[in-house]
Structures are given as structure tokens and as C-alpha cells.
Amino acid sequence: MKHPATMALLAGGLLFLLVLLFGCDHGISPPPPPDYGAIRGSVYIRSPWPPRDSVRDLRFVAFRIVPRDTADFLNLNNFIYSPSLLTYFGADSFTFFVDSVPAGVYVYSGIAHRFGPGLLDWRPVGLYADEAQRPRPFQVERGEVVRDIRIEVDFYQRPPFPPR
């Protein structure tokens, strides 16, 4: 090796350059917090309630995407949900309120009924829909409450799922 000092200098220079190039970048960082709003809604029960033991849970659920199948219930990033509405079991109508809802557009929402013990044993029993019974999107704005959500529930004539 004829020029070890030159080699060492070159290696040191390369190292310095690389550190300079990459030293200021810290990779992944937390994304900015989402803005939040809230949802208030009313539920009207249009059929008899099923037996109590077949209603394991009942919640208002609003999706950012149109779910393809029940696997989309596993991604909390895709949807928000209310506290359990089982306390209203037997009532003809009731209201719900969901706070800390990330701002954005929700394209598919309704009341979800948990009918079995399985993780994916959920199905919709009423949709927030237009007059043609198509899912109706709504938008949550930062710091505002969406108030006009009205859902009719029929435990025996359920909306199709996955939605057509």
C-alpha cells in the first residue's frame, strides 16, 4: 500500500460526507394529530327486538371506506364507533353521541349488531341512507357536531352486506 495516508483521508472524508448527508434526518416521526369533531344521531327501531341473548352488542359505526367484507372491521383506522347502545335494549327510539371523531368524510355508516361470539360476528341492521336506501356520506368538520344523523333499524330486514 503506497499511499495509506491518502486512503485514510479519503475514507475519513467519505465518512464525514455520509454523516453530514444523513445526520439530520431522523426517519419516522409521529404524523400531525387529526382534527376532531363529534356526531349526534337518532335511532328508530322499526321491528321487534330479537331475543336479548342474540343481541350481544349494538353500536353506531361510521366508515371512511365502503367495507368490502368483515375484515374491514379489524382496522380501527377505517372507522369510528359509538359506546355500546345495548342500554337501550327494548326501546322504540334513542339517541347517541360520539365525540373525538377525526375530521373527514364518512361514506358508510349505520347501526351494527353483534350477533355471535366471534370477532367478526357483526352485521348492519340499519344504515344512514338516502331515500333510495343507498349509503349516505357525511362530513365531520373540526370542532363541529354533525347533528342530523337519523337511522332506522329493522333486525329482520337487514341492509345487504357487503354493500352492493
Binding site: 465518512l15 375484515a71 380501527l76
Partner: protein, 743 residues
């Protein structure tokens, strides 16, 4: 215990002394040119099992050598190999004082994995990378997955080994790389994985990484390559080594990651010790034993572990032709595993409310016992028989209910054997042939399939044959190999025929060109075929899964130049078929709502180039550079896309500088950003698309003097946050203080 040992030694001594009435002794010392004793240098009389390893002062002694002329070989990684004839006379002691000259590159003269026999690295028909024990020690590496992060062309997707992009990420099930311990496969047949934290790396002589499909020699799992840990032979002089370390993860820099967990606001500690002893108390009997205790608080919430690992190897000779080894291990660990983050704003937490949330708490007990018998009836023959027993018991501790713990526990027993014979035949070449078999029994509530069975078995039988032109005589060395594997597994019988072919051209001492072709396959594990669960994540069985297959082509060149530079350049073209991935399926019979199921879905092609350079322009400076370019293509659909979970560029650079007792080391690793994340994975975990290129700097400073050394290691020195696989933050900057003693 002591009378038993004395009796054993007496029997061994009597046996060997009866066989060899006229013997002599070879003793001596191995040192470097600068006079430092070379601890662990291998001394071997070629064509026999007579050998020794140098002790702490570099001395060795081989007794009961039948009188005659031998070729003595003294080798150590990083030094020129010494080969000289010696005459052993009856009743006399022959003394050797050897000084090995340091070599520019770390690679040893011989490797064993590429062709299942000892051969010069220059004659290996396929790319082989090596890791020396020193590289593991100075980085405080205690687990194989940590070690492999420093091999060019290899990267880890959490705990899955990727050789040139072979594996991707398959949810911790089914390794696409065969992992061997002194040539022995210790794979858990239930998950098709080898526990990468179960090996005694302090007793490793070197790690060989063979890149490319290797099922023609090693059977299932060698789809993308083979990793083989070669352990040391017992040292002649009693040698005790102790490594103590304590370290800490620095608190993360972002307030968001610390907001919901107080544990993230302080340094989080890890510590441990590695104690080993190696000795050959009798010329025909030696042993080493190793104990490792590790505790790690972890830097993520509920992600800690306590591990106690003990290993031992007993070795003996019965005359100069027979050799036996007995390996045994007992490992106990208790760990809380963190699967997925809650989301990128809570990267150190998992979502406790979510059914698919990412934490598990297990206790694992592993035992293994491996007797090996080797016979060297003549200088041109070698026969080996190995039997292995492996036990693994995993108890889930999440549930406080002992009945539920027992139901969900997994107990695995694996019994296997393999036989290998090698003949060096005049005019015909080197023939290597072998037979093997294994049966695994696993009892678990998770693998009940549709039939509800709790006990599953997976037997297999195999045979292989390899022919090579004899080394040394020809500059052009062709080789052919074929292996048959048979898995009668109930519903389906898997039969695989795996060929290989290679050609090596040694154009002089310093240049070798190679071309190789080989097949690989992986039989689906019991977990992939029979897992059924609905308490955690809905999982459905698929008993008719097909084996994954691969074909590897490689053209390569190895060149040693200027006396201080070694280069390996390879072009590779690998195709993969029927790769198994977990997919969400609806409409499965008997499954309400849908479930995840393992399926043969992916067809892929990965081609690329790899350059590995190792240089030591001055004796105190060593540097190693590895660059791999890959073109990973998913060919499953009508349109080709980028293969998921793969990087396109891999770069590894290491430099070591020694100045008197001081040592300075720097490692840099770069992996380009994964260009595609598998979409079903993204359906149930948040922020999975948040991936970045990996750029990591590790720095260490050491002081070595006599029998002790101190080392300060800073990993991820520039505090870079990244994921090796989506939704799992990798370790932040961490510091380790290590003290090593060897006597």
C-alpha cells in the same frame, strides 16, 4: 459425577492406548507475527481427527499420535493458514512454534456449507459470506438475527431472514432460509421456523451464509439460502471467558410517543452475562459449556424478556479414526412480544381494546440433544451419523386461567437422523451421499384444523447424492447433485426432487469464476396448514397447501488482489413459485364472516447484482463493503408489480481501526424503502404504509489489554427511527458497555 468422569476418561484412554501402541506428542504455541497468542487457532493433522484448539496463551498439545509423517494445518480466521509436514516419533514430543501472518481479509481458507464438505472458499460453487466470532463479540451480538444484519446481501424483516430478498414478511411463520447448527437442522415443524435466539454465539467459530437455493443438499426451507453456525472445538488449555454487559435505550425524541406511557420518558435497560469454559482434560476427550443470561426491559410497552440459555458440547476420539460429539442445550425464556403498534402517533404502544392488538406473553422451554458419530476409515473417506431430539414447549401466560393456558400451550417433539458419506475416488471425483429422516409431533389447541385434532405429525425421509470433480487436479470443477424429499403428511404427500449443477474455474490462485444452478423448496408448516382460531384473529386451516419452490441461477467471481483486497461479484436470477401468504377470505365453508387463511398466491422473480469487498491496506485497518441491487418483481397477477416487503438497494459498510490497545469500529447499513406493503396486512393495522429507508450508523470504541477488554457500543448512533417491517418501530439509539475477560 467425578468418578463417572474418571471412568469415562479411563475407558477412552484405554481404548485409544490399546489401538495405538507406538505414539508421540505434538505440542507448541500459535502466535501472531506481533507475538499475541492466537486463542482458538485450529491445529489439525490432515486426514485424521487428531487436532486441538489453541488455549488462552496460544499453546496446544496433541497426544497419542501414531508415529508417522503428517501434514499439520494451523488455521484461524483473519490469518494465513500454516501447512507443513511433521514427523511424529514413538515416545517423543515434537514441538512447533508457529507465527501466523495476518491476512487482509477475514474469510477462512475453508468453508463447509456450500458442498457439505470442507473445501477452499475459492472452490465454493456459490456465493458464501462469513462472519467471524470477533465480529460478533465486538458488537455484543447474542442472537443470530442480530448477527445476520451485518452480512452483505442479508437483511431481517423483524425475525425473518432475507437472503437477497427471499423471504419478505410472512407473519413469523415459515422460514425461507435453512438455519443449521454445525450442519444440523433444529427447526420447529409446527411453525417451520428456527428460534434465532437459541444458539450459543460465544462458541461459534464462524457463521457461513450460502446465498441461493440449496435444497439439493439441505432439503426444505433452503429456498433462498442456508445459514450454518460452525462451533469451536474444545480448547486444549482450560479457557474461561466471561462477558458482562449493561446497556440502555435512550428515551425517544418525540413527545407524542412519550405522552401516553411514562416508561418511554426514561432510559430503559438491558443487561446480561455470557460465561463459557472450554477444556480438553484428556487427549481423547474435551468439552465446552456456555451459559447466557439476558434481561431486556424493551423500549416498547410490555415488550420485555428474560432468557437463560445453556449449551454444552462433549467431544471425544476413539483412536485416530473415530470421533464422537454430544451437543445438549436447555433454554428457558419468558417474553412479552409486541406485534403491531397502535398507530404511528403511539408507536411504542399497542391497542389494548383491539382484538387484533399486538401483544402476547409466553413462556418457552427448549431442550435439544444431538449425538454425532464420525468415522474416517481412510484419508479418502468420511462418514457421519447424527441423531437429533428437539423439544419445545410454549405456554401462553396472557390468560390467568390455568386450564386455558394448558389448552393453548404448544408442545413439540422432533426426532430425526441423518447420515452422510464422502468418498474421494481416484479418477471419478468426490462423491457425497446421505440419507435423512425426521418426525415431529406437535400438540396444540391452535392446530386443530377442521377435524379438531390436537395432535399433528409431519414425518419426512430424504436422500441425496452429489458428484464433484476432485479438487486440486483440474482448474475446471463441475459438480452435480440431486436430492429426493418425501413428506407423507396425511391429506397430501409432498415429493420433491431438487437438482443442482455448478461449474467453478480456478484461473490461478487468486481468481475463481463460478456458475451455479439450484432448486429450492419449502414444505408448508403445520401452522400454515392447520391453524384454526377465532379468539384472537379469525384463522382458517388450509391442509392442501402446496410447497413453495424456487430456482436460483448465479454467475460469480472471487478475486484476491494486491495482497490486501478480496472481491466477490455475483449476478443472480431467482424465481419463486407458490409463495405462501396469509389472505383474508370470505365464503369459506363453516366460517362465518370470513377469516385469514394461508394460501399459495405469489409468483415472483428477483434478479440482481451483489458486490462484496474486503480490504486491509494496513495491518491496523480493515474495511468491508457489500452492495446488493435487487429487482423484486411480483408476477402473480396479469400485470407485474414490485414484490411486497422488499428493498431494492442494500448497502453495508464496516471499518475497524486498531491503534495500540485501542479499537474503533463503525458500521453503516442502508436499505432502500420498501416500495410495496401487502394490502391485506394494511386492512387491520394502522399506518402500515409509513416506512422509510433504513440508514443506520453503529459506532464502538474498545480498549483491549491482556486478558481483559472494555467496549462501548453505540447502536443507531444518529438516532434514526425506522421499521424493519411495517407497524413495528425498531430500536432507538442505545448504548452498551461491555467487559470481556478471558483466562
Amino acid at each position: 459425577m467425578r468418578p463417572l468422569l474418571v471412568l469415562l476418561l479411563a475407558i477412552l484412554g484405554a481404548t485409544s492406548s490399546m489401538a495405538q501402541p507406538a505414539t508421540g506428542v505434538l505440542e507448541g504455541r500459535v502466535r501472531s507475527v506481533s507475538g499475541e497468542p492466537l486463542v482458538g487457532a485450529n491445529v489439525l493433522l490432515e486426514g485424521t481427527f487428531l487436532g486441538a484448539a489453541a488455549g488462552a496463551d496460544g499453546s496446544f498439545r496433541i497426544e497419542r499420535i501414531p508415529a508417522g509423517r503428517y501434514l499439520v494445518r494451523i488455521s484461524m480466521i483473519g490469518y494465513e493458514t500454516y501447512r507443513e509436514p511433521v514427523d511424529i516419533r514413538p515416545g517423543e514430543t515434537t514441538r512447533l512454534e508457529v507465527r501466523l501472518r495476518e491476512r487482509a481479509y477475514q474469510a477462512p481458507d475453508v468453508v463447509v456449507t456450500a458442498s457439505r464438505r470442507e473445501q477452499r472458499l475459492q472452490e465454493a460453487p456459490i456465493s458464501v459470506s462469513l462472519l467471524s466470532p470477533r465480529e460478533l463479540e465486538v458488537r455484543n451480538v447474542l442472537k443470530l438475527d442480530e448477527a445476520l444484519r451485518y452480512v452483505p446481501g442479508v437483511y431481517m424483516t423483524e425475525n425473518q431472514i432475507n437472503i437477497r430478498g427471499s423471504s419478505g414478511f410472512s407473519y413469523g411463520v415459515g422460514s425461507r432460509v435453512a438455519v443449521l447448527f454445525d450442519g444440523i437442522a433444529l427447526q420447529a415443524v409446527d411453525r417451520g421456523e428456527t428460534a434465532l435466539d437459541a444458539f450459543p454465539l460465544d462458541q461459534v467459530e464462524r457463521i457461513e451464509v450460502v446465498k441461493g437455493a440449496g435444497s439439493a443438499l439441505y432439503g426444505s426451507s433452503a429456498l433462498g439460502g442456508v445459514v450454518n453456525l460452525i462451533t469451536r472445538t474444545p480448547s486444549d488449555v482450560p479457557t474461561t471467558a466471561l462477558r458482562l454487559y449493561v446497556g440502555a435505550y435512550e428515551p425517544v425524541r418525540y413527545p407524542e410517543w412519550k405522552a401516553r406511557w411514562a416508561g418511554a420518558r426514561r432510559f430503559r435497560f438491558f443487561e446480561g452475562l455470557v460465561l463459557s469454559h472450554s477444556h480438553r482434560p484428556h487427549p481423547d476427550f474435551g468439552y465446552w459449556a456456555s451459559l447466557t443470561v439476558q434481561r431486556d426491559e424493551g423500549f416498547r410497552k410490555d415488550n420485555d424478556e428474560l432468557r437463560i440459555r445453556s449449551y454444552a458440547r462433549l467431544s471425544g476420539r476413539l483412536g485416530s479414526q473415530w470421533k464422537w460429539d454430544l451437543y445438549g442445550s436447555a433454554i428457558r425464556s419468558q417474553a412479552r412480544t409486541f406485534y403491531f403498534w397502535d398507530n404511528a402517533r403511539n408507536a411504542l404502544l399497542y391497542e389494548t381494546d383491539r382484538a387484533t392488538g399486538g401483544n402476547n406473553h409466553n413462556r418457552t422451554v427448549q431442550l435439544s440433544l444431538i449425538p454425532v458419530l464420525t468415522w474416517l476409515p481412510a484419508a479418502n473417506q468420511f462418514h457421519l451419523v447424527r441423531v437429533r431430539y428437539y423439544f419445545n414447549h410454549v405456554t401462553p401466560l396472557n390468560s390467568p386461567d390455568p386450564v386455558r393456558r394448558d389448552t393453548n400451550a404448544t408442545r413439540l417433539h422432533v426426532v430425526g437422523f441423518d447420515e452422510q458419506s464422502t468418498w474421494h475416488l481416484h479418477r471419478i471425483g468426490v462423491l457425497t451421499a446421505g440419507l435423512g429422516g425426521e418426525v415431529g409431533f406437535v400438540r396444540s389447541g391452535f392446530y386443530r384444523g377442521n377435524e379438531g385434532l390436537r395432535l399433528r405429525t409431519q414425518p419426512n425421509l430424504s436422500g441425496f447424492l452429489q458428484w464433484e470433480l476432485p479438487p486440486g487436479r483440474w482448474t475446471l470443477k463441475p459438480a452435480l447433485g440431486l436430492r429426493l424429499d418425501w413428506y407423507p403428511t396425511g391429506e397430501v404427500t409432498y415429493t420433491r426432487l431438487s437438482p443442482k449443477a455448478s461449474l467453478v474455474w480456478n484461473a490461478g490462485e487468486t481468481l475463481a469464476l463460478r456458475a451455479s444452478y439450484g432448486h429450492g423448496f419449502r414444505v408448508p408448516s403445520i401452522a400454515e396448514r392447520y391453524v384454526k382460531d377465532d379468539a384472537f384473529l379469525p384463522l382458517a386451516p388450509n391442509p392442501r397447501l402446496r410447497p413453495e419452490r424456487s430456482i436460483s441461477w448465479e454467475l460469480g467471481l472471487r478475486w484476491q488482489a494486491l495482497g490486501w483486497l478480496q472481491m466477490d461479484l455475483a449476478g443472480f436470477w431467482n424465481t419463486y413459485r407458490d409463495l405462501i401468504e396469509a389472505r383474508f377470505q370470505t365464503g369459506l365453508p363453516g366460517v362465518r364472516g370470513g377469516a385469514f387463511q394461508f394460501q399459495n398466491v405469489t409468483q415472483a422473480r428477483i434478479r440482481g447484482l451483489e458486490l462484496e469487498l474486503e480490504a486491509s491496506p494496513r495491518s491496523e485497518l480493515r474495511t468491508r463493503l457489500g452492495y446488493t441491487y435487487m429487482d423484486p418483481v411480483d408476477r402473480s397477477g396479469p400485470v407485474e408489480t414490485v414484490l411486497a416487503f422488499r428493498s431494492r438497494h442494500l448497502l453495508f459498510w464496516n471499518t475497524e481501526l486498531a491503534r495500540g490497545p485501542w479499537r474503533l469500529g463503525v458500521d453503516f447499513r442502508y436499505l432502500s424503502k420498501m416500495e410495496r406493503i401487502e394490502t391485506d396486512f394494511a386492512r387491520f393495522v394502522e399506518d402500515v404504509f409509513l416506512v422509510v429507508p433504513i440508514r443506520l450508523w453503529d459506532v464502538r470504541l474498545g480498549y483491549e489489554r491482556g486478558f481483559w477488554a472494555v467496549n462501548l457500543i453505540i447502536k443507531n448512533a444518529l438516532e434514526y427511527y425506522y421499521v424493519e417491517r411495517p407497524a413495528l418501530l425498531a430500536p432507538p439509539r442505545n448504548y452498551t458497555l461491555q467487559i470481556r475477560l478471558r483466562r
